[in-house]
């Protein structure tokens, strides 16, 4: 089956005063019909930038897409004209952003903000769009939806605003929803509600979802497949169970070990990955994670690893030494 979306060798750079910063360094992503793909990584690992590049929402300048292709239903989004791209955005691929407090227009009624895309893409009249906005608000669980379409964003709580964002993203029934850390700014209880809501809607409506997050707990509860990003590259990808139980990249292992556990060892000390995330000015010449890695060898500082097949079925790891992780696991 052909993937719905396939990103090949995407490279995005930002021209800054100190030089060119390579935020995304030749990544490949595939997304199939009806699946939830999680992209995981620390802040600054390039996960948001890579998906904003897909949407054509990188501010240019200073941003620049150096190379790569983004195939959506076989057509390259990066080669599309501005007009064609406008027909994709919000209609075929929609986005949910991180901060619901600032992502809604403060001086526009909620109903109008939802209706805007409906009138644009589905040619609805104002009355039809308003009716549909009420239905959408009901769908995402906002009580008293009819009255609330006339409210402004500041009259909603954070969790409710994120539901509004979701309703907005769903409005034109897109094939793909890109959720950029949609629960990061919310309380834990609200987080769970939002996750369950997205899961429910995804299975009811059969969309595909790309869920960007740095929270492995959330990823475990929502995703089918996971791609782990580090310093603008995908270092490991596989099914959610494989990645969580049989990590084959030292960075993934480090992330998993740094999750606080109730049943952790007696010392109560939290584990961390030594060192800091790498910022790539210029294209890297070796494994970006090498200087923080416990498995590093000379080779790690001389070559760039590609994504290798591993002993775990569908898992691919960008580590020369993935087999040593496998040996460790069996001890």
């Amino acid at each position: 089956m052909n993937p719905l979306l396939s990103v090949n060798n995407l490279t995005t750079s930002f021209n800054l005063d100190d030089g060119d910063l390579y935020a995304v360094n030749g990544i490949d992503i595939t997304l199939h019909q009806g699946e939830i793909l999680a992209i995981v990584g620390e802040s600054g690992s390039g996960k948001s930038v890579s998906l904003l590049s897909v949407m054509g929402l990188i501010p240019m300048p200073p941003g620049r897409i150096e190379e790569g292709e983004v195939l959506f239903e076989g057509k390259d989004l990066l080669k599309m004209s501005y007009r064609e791209m406008c027909r994709i955005r919000g209609n075929e691929i929609a986005m949910i952003f991180q901060d619901p407090m600032t992502s809604l227009n403060p001086v526009m009624r909620i109903g109008d903000q939802i209706g805007e895309a409906l009138m644009l893409h589905l040619n609805m009249t104002k009355t039809r769009a308003r009716k549909r906005a009420v239905e959408l608000l009901e769908l995402v669980g906002i009580p008293d939806a009819d009255r609330r379409t006339r409210d402004y964003p500041h009259q909603f709580s954070g969790g409710m605003r994120q539901r509004v964002m979701i309703a907005m993203a769903l409005s034109c029934e897109p094939k793909i929803i890109i959720a950029d850390e949609p629960t990061t700014a919310l309380d834990v209880t609200i987080q769970t509600q939002i996750i369950n809501l997205v899961k429910r809607l995804q299975s009811e409506l059969g969309m595909s979802v790309v869920w960007i997050s740095h929270d492995l707990g959330i990823v475990a509860s929502i995703a089918d497949r996971v791609a782990v990003m580090y310093a603008g590259k995908i270092v490991e990808k596989g099914t959610v169970d494989d990645i969580f139980y049989h990590p084959r990249h030292p960075y993934t292992l480090g992330l998993l070990k740094s999750i606080p556990r109730l049943d952790s060892d007696e010392s109560g000390q939290l584990e961390e990955i030594p060192g800091h995330a790498h910022v790539c000015f210029d294209q890297p010449s070796h494994c970006s994670f090498a200087n923080r890695c416990e498995f590093k060898t000379e080779r790690c500082f001389q070559e760039i690893p590609i994504l290798y097949e591993t002993d775990i079925g569908r898992t691919r790891s960008a580590c020369f030494h993935w087999s040593r992780l496998s040996e460790n696991e069996n001890v």
Partner: protein
């Protein structure tokens, strides 16, 4: 919500009472004879009978609190007192001058609102491109030109050398013509003062608009709007501009208040018979009662335009309604 609106009005009333009281007490606290303040330097030439008459007319022989109450009473009846210098009621003097002032300050306010907002928006939308840099430099140059210098240059070039427009006054003296010819005559007299005022006024509005719009352009909800597939034009007009207008409207409302005060420099340069020119004449003639009255007019105008701004703001930004 309603109570806070009421509180706001109450605050303005308190400010108004304080301003009026200051206006009453300050001249009486100043050193020297209040009579001299009222009648000016001529007081030395007056006979004792004349002095007594003026004192009685002005109520200076009565207790202070009675004078204070009378002052309020007169004021609320629209009576600002009498100018002994010009031998005319002050209310009438101000009434004669105010329309002329409002004609030029009002026109330049509208012009600066339109051009300031449009140029500011163009600049912000094309940030750091040649258009933006060119506009920014032009505006800074315009804003830093002294109005008296610009006024005199315009007079010497447009009126004297080119003989295109009249150089002084609000209309040609003893002008006879049809109604429309009179309108054209008055209009031709306003052009140079309005240009001078606008050149000074546009940059302020421009800079406010440019700055606000730049910060709106970087806001998350603009990215949201783009992610919906809206065209750049729709993003600009529906999302960016609407969010940028509130601070600009506030700036304009406050300027509207000061517009009532006229502009001393410009009206003097063009010998324009407005309130600013009246202030200038009163200062040079030491006509304190007139000065006091004009200051009060300006105070009230500024207060009222502040109330106006307060009432307009929630219409442009619904968040202001909540607090």
């Amino acid at each position: 919500m309603r109570s806070s609106r009421g509180n706001r009005i109450l605050e303005y009333l308190v400010v108004f009472v304080i301003a009026v009281s200051l206006n009453f007490f300050l001249p009486r606290l100043m050193p020297g004879n209040p009579l001299a303040l009222l009648a000016g330097v001529d007081v030395g030439l007056m006979t004792p009978e004349e002095k007594a008459k003026v004192k009685e007319e002005a109520g200076l022989d009565r207790p202070l609190w009675e004078q204070y109450i009378d002052y309020w009473n007169d004021l609320l009846h629209g009576d600002f007192g009498y100018s002994y210098k010009q031998k005319a009621p002050i209310t009438k003097m101000i009434g004669d001058r105010l329309p002329w002032t409002l004609l030029i300050t009002g026109s330049s306010l509208i012009i600066s609102a339109i051009f300031g907002v449009i140029f500011g928006a163009i600049s912000a939308w094309n940030r750091a491109k040649p258009v933006d840099i060119g506009l920014l430099w032009t505006m800074i140059l315009m804003g830093s030109m002294p109005t008296f210098w610009l006024g005199m240059m315009l007079i010497s070039i447009v009126s004297v050398d080119l003989q295109l427009l009249p150089s002084f006054g609000a209309m040609t003296p003893a002008f006879f013509g049809t109604f429309w010819e009179s309108v054209a005559d008055v209009a031709s007299h306003t052009i140079l003062p309005v240009i001078t005022l606008s050149v000074w006024s546009i940059p302020g509005v421009y800079l406010t608009m440019r700055y606000t719009m730049l910060s709106v352009l970087g806001a998350d909800f603009i990215r949201t709007a783009r992610s919906k597939g809206l065209s750049e034009k729709t993003v600009l007009f529906r999302h960016v501009v609407r969010n940028s207008l509130a601070p600009v409207v506030t700036v304009l409302a406050i300027r509207l208040g000061f517009a009532f005060g006229g502009t001393v420099v410009v009206e003097t340069v063009f010998s324009y018979p407005g309130l600013g020119r009246l202030i200038f004449e009163s200062v040079s003639g030491r006509d304190y009662p007139v000065l006091q009255a004009t200051f009060l007019v300006i105070t009230v105008a500024v207060l009222v335009s502040n109330i106006l701004a307060d009432m307009l703001y929630p219409l442009l930004d619904p968040r202001a309604k909540a607090n």
